[in-house]
Symmetry: C2
Subunit: 330 residues, 2 copies
């Protein structure tokens, strides 16, 4: 099934969306919000699924046109957002461009950082920043949402905890990163917002594209109408999602609604382009000695989407404009 | 006023606790959980306050003995836990002990990392770990809880967003830290749990000990009945709470219920002892060439508490035993 949250209060209103992303119906009587559904997923999911099937079959009386512009992130605020950097080829490229070696341990031990789970934004919400000088970049990623995961869960056991998948734009302020990483406490100001495509989908919706560990479809990133890249998310993912989950649960349990990200999707050699401008600039640096593509400017529009084998949108589109700060509370 | 959450479901049941931490009453009719109270704080807080005053005056019919053992963390799961390292004297000492210089920028630009806001545990919950080899340590800290904070809020404007204060034991797995920091993505596996004292208190409860930016009382850490230290949280705090909030809100807004921590309380020269074993071991290393105090062992008991000028407990006590993992979901 496919699930969205229409904007309403702080946690949105849970909506069921049909396979083709054309029609939707509210699910508030089953679970008012995505988090309440996740809190009791084994009981709630079958009821949502039943209504979803009626919606897809057209046998539901009360449905309406699905409007992505009304969407918050499917889970508007989460208690945990752990973002990996699972395409190690990307990390290697970034380091190569700045003349730094990469420790061989990076191929064996996942890189994961804690992201801002309270700063999830909707698919068409603007990306705001105080200054273009911050180096505003997008990062196209795949994410999974887990149920409760016990501390010490192994990768073998982790796959069954993946309940939903989605795609995100993990906004990065590139020019704030070097200073933060030098302090060794990880990203903070440099990773402000994460925008989500309109719907989360259950693994069964993905057919053979989902092998239980990786999602084998290209993730398309388009900036101002120009395709920047469409690398395949199933290729060159050094650490698959069960491995990332086991890494996150090594020293403590995870609670239902935990969002775990792949990091920027990237393929060896970048033959199908890139899912962030940092990678484009690294390739330019290696080729020309310096980058020529600028980071994003106010007014730019970033579009991120994943199409299935028949060209249909799986998660709906992220389509955001870059804008100066508007000082308002969430 | 003072507020706690008795264990109940995932988010606890909001309780009002009297000034002396002797009596309590439920607040579920006003707000079922701490987060729902925070989501609408300006409306809910005055009603909680009114009942608190009746409770303290003894004019409330339905009150019962307050039982800290029934407590979850006052906010059992939060959307954002940003932990600072605001006592720079502590950072300097740790670096000195390992022969490393500290960049002078550390005195001007706050160190903050994103903590595990879904892994908050109650004051008497065990601290679990798979192995003592992980180097299990406690960290005594002061925290504040904010309401909604707009992106770009300055330190001058930030103080008014502090709605509640608490104390925590930020559990650290010292032997997992060097490997994680070397990867530059910050703490993840090395910061599993944060335990909270039974109650959050509003700033007005603290009298002159709270100056709007720092809390001027000693934080006492006792291990197996032996006082490890009682440094004063108001002294040597290089970055006060409004400064930490402004740092966190530089590139995005914060939502109500954001928890911001001071980092391990530490005074120059450590004359009143330390609030973590890492600092004790650093002092030993500087004096003797090597540490002699071990990290915590299974069966150990850590007690963290803050007493006011009259010796009364402000937040109640954190009192936890260290235990091997029990594989269970939260």
């Amino acid at each position: 099934m496919k699930l969205a949250s229409y904007k309403s209060g702080r946690d949105g209103q849970l909506m069921i969306v049909d396979r083709g992303l054309q029609r939707c119906c509210p699910a508030g009587d089953l679970a008012p919000t995505m988090q309440t559904a996740l809190d009791d997923w084994s009981n709630i999911a079958p009821r949502l699924q039943e209504r979803y099937e009626h919606l897809c079959e057209g046998t539901l009386d009360a449905s309406s046109a699905f409007e992505p512009g009304k969407c918050a992130a499917p889970l508007p605020r989460s208690y945990h957002w752990a973002d990996g950097s699972a395409y190690v080829t990307h990390v290697e490229l970034v380091r190569k461009a700045r003349g730094a070696d990469m420790p061989t341990s990076f191929w064996e031990d996942p890189l994961v950082y804690m992201g801002a789970s309270d700063a999830f934004i909707g698919p068409e919400d603007p990306v705001t920043a105080e200054s273009e000088d911050w180096g505003i970049d997008f990062e196209g990623e795949v994410v999974v949402v887990t149920d409760d995961v016990a501390a010490g869960t192994t990768a073998d056991e982790a796959a069954k905890h993946i309940k939903l998948l989605g795609i995100v734009n993990d906004v990065s302020l590139r020019n704030l990163i070097p200073g933060e990483l030098a302090k060794q406490f990880g990203f903070y100001q440099s990773k402000p917002w994460t925008a989500f495509a309109p719907v989360f989908v259950t693994p069964d919706e993905l057919g053979t594209a989902w092998d239980g560990a990786r999602l084998h479809l290209p993730l398309r990133a388009t900036l101002n109408g120009e395709l920047i890249g469409a690398p395949n998310a199933g290729q060159d993912m050094t650490f698959d999602f069960p491995t990332l989950i086991a890494h996150c649960a090594k020293s403590r349990s995870l609670i239902s609604g935990t969002v775990i990200g792949s990091g920027t999707v990237s393929n060896v050699g970048s033959k199908d382009g890139s899912c962030c401008l940092a990678e484009v600039r690294c390739l330019e640096t290696l080729r020309d000695g310096k980058p020529s593509t600028p980071f994003m400017s106010f007014g730019d529009r970033i579009h991120i989407e994943m199409l299935d084998g028949e060209g249909a949108s799986v998660f709906g589109a992220i389509d955001q404009q870059i804008r100066p700060f508007e000082r308002s509370t969430v």
